[in-house]
Symmetry: C2
Subunit: 341 residues, 2 copies
DNA sequence: CTGTTAGCGCTTTCAA
DNA sequence: TTGAAAGCGCTAACAG
């Protein structure tokens, strides 16, 4: 079953109409080599008249480059990835490249398969946001695969290919703010500690505590999975204990939202009775009531940078500057306030 | 600059190693035609040994089909489109096809360019979520372009290619609920009326009013643009008038969120003083306080159906049943309640 | 059931 | 500055 065919004009039609050779037409298509201006005009006119459009498959086959880059993210939906895809597509397309997206669902097997899939689509390169794949595997891939850049991850030995956020500093800032507001019993709801960013965020929390002469109280610590429900569960458990606390620092906004819902349910006023801070500055953080204090994750800037990395390192645009580490910003809003005396 | 090359084995290597012809290898790749089981095994073994992967560009070029479908949506981010992309990608990939996404930003020129872009990528077909493109243009495209299916739109003359929601019924249900709760002064915040779905939703609102012997009061009507701010502006204007009303029906959740924020600011309690209803069941509707009563938009089901339409009509999977119109469901939550007597 | 043989539409040396 | 010709890796008749 032929599908593409529509009696589309080919380079051959153009060359005939323009009275030049295939090679010449090809040259003006890739507006590369020297072609006499007059010839170029003739060809352009012919292309116009025929409504000619180069066949990208044929170009790819002959030139060994597809102008496509594969993007593997955990999910295709959600505010975080939405912003990522959107930015990457825009940046790439402005440069005449295009993106193929696929999801790895934070599972090792899926992530590997996703990479294979992108390879099989003959992508020139990849942008990877992977969580389950190990550092070791990524290191191997460096030589066995097409070029790739990692977003939101710092792999030793792959430094130049990483675009990461200073997660540690982000939660350091969050916790420090809470401490500066006078809170001393501070609960922490962590992300899954088998993921590096969750560990980094926890580290920042600890550093801030240490600066105030405190340390992480196991009874005030819970590990969640970055999803809303786990935040609810964590806060409920924390509340069910005897231990007092006046603030809860959550490793992301979803969990903070879950925690806030539980606080409401239990009749605890936020922030009067309990201050809550999130991380990521997801859109939902502005819809929560009260508006969530959080830490901004510059995912758009980082995604754009990942795309630029490729434009520079794969497509040879040397004019692009690359930044590897991005800094988070504290965003105090309404869910945090000084501790009641 | 060659990019793809990695000394990748070709079908030729495989045929040599297996001791068969190119054609035979091709047959087992497309596990189509009759190949003796023993031969197949030999070929498979050779492919395995070489780590062979078919070159999709070459396949596309030779077979006139790329196994790729283009997806043009208004935006790549946001909950609505996120769910769409996610579902489409999953469905397509499970069928061995893949998707190329691009955004039209609800502007006619961008939408047209997006379609051209997808055509130039040699997609076999397209899934279109377009708002600015006219019915007439779409009608023309029917013959001049690759096959496409429309999501969230019903174009006369393109019935079989449309996957749409019964918007009219959705807002009919929303308004009817409000009226059944005893409200009689009901404000309506519409979407942009140059978009069909906004008109349909308004029609449903009017029908419900009519059933209760009411009609649309111009002073209680405002046209927004489906964005949060316009909902805020609309409610503020409404409130600044002399006219009383005890409920506001909004044509989508974003605008409802904006309206709710204004109500809070003005010291109006929701739903005690003012009931508010949205439309779409966007994720944010659950985060609002109080939780927003709304109408569910089954975007995932609809996206999946769009993908199936292609699988059936373009790739020939006759086993798939196609549904063209989907029905919305009312989702009463906490932002609506009986009118105060 | 398997092999031969043309291409698919374009790029890219190499000559002219 | 332009043209001729040899592929890129694979599919698809058509034979056998």
């Amino acid at each position: 079953m032929k599908i593409i065919d529509k009696a589309v004009p080919t380079i051959y039609e153009v060359s005939r109409l323009a009275g030049v050779s295939l090679a010449t037409v090809s040259r003006v298509i890739n507006d590369s080599e020297r072609v006499r201006e007059k010839t170029r005009q003739k060809v352009l006119a012919a292309m116009e008249e025929l409504g000619y459009r180069p066949n990208s498959m044929a170009q790819a086959l002959a030139s060994h480059r597809s102008n496509s880059v594969g993007v593997l993210v955990s999910e295709l939906h959600g505010p975080f990835f939405g912003a990522m895809l959107s930015t990457i597509e825009k940046t790439l397309r402005a440069a005449g490249k295009f993106a193929i997206f696929t999801a790895g669902h934070s599972e090792e097997a899926n992530e590997k398969e996703g990479m294979q899939f992108l390879m099989s689509r003959n992508c020139d390169a990849m942008i990877l946001h992977v969580e389950a794949t190990t550092d070791e595997y990524l290191l191997e891939c460096k030589d066995s695969m097409i070029p790739f850049v990692l977003v939101n991850r710092l792999v030793p030995g792959l430094g130049d290919r990483c675009i990461a956020l200073n997660n540690e500093r982000g939660s350091y800032l969050a916790t420090k703010m809470i401490l500066q507001l006078g809170h001393r019993q501070v609960a922490y709801v962590s992300g899954p500690l088998n993921w590096a960013d969750a560990r980094e965020r926890l580290a920042g929390h600890k550093r801030a505590l240490a600066e105030f002469g405190l340390h992480l109280e196991p009874s005030l610590f819970r590990e969640g999975d970055y999803r809303e429900d786990s935040g609810s569960r964590a806060l409920a458990e924390l509340l069910d204990q005897e231990v007092q606390f006046s603030a809860a620092v959550c490793a992301n906004d979803e969990m903070a939202a879950g925690a806030m819902a539980v606080a409401h349910d239990r009749g605890l006023a936020v922030p009067e009775d309990l201050s809550i801070v999130g991380f990521d500055n997801a859109p939902l953080s502005r819809y929560l009531y009260p508006k969530l204090s959080t830490v901004d994750y510059p995912i758009e800037d980082m995604s754009r940078m990942a795309a630029r990395w490729l434009l520079r390192n794969v497509y040879g645009d040397e004019t692009l500057e690359i930044v590897h580490q991005f800094e988070p910003k504290l965003l105090p809003r309404e869910s945090s306030r000084p501790v009641k005396d």
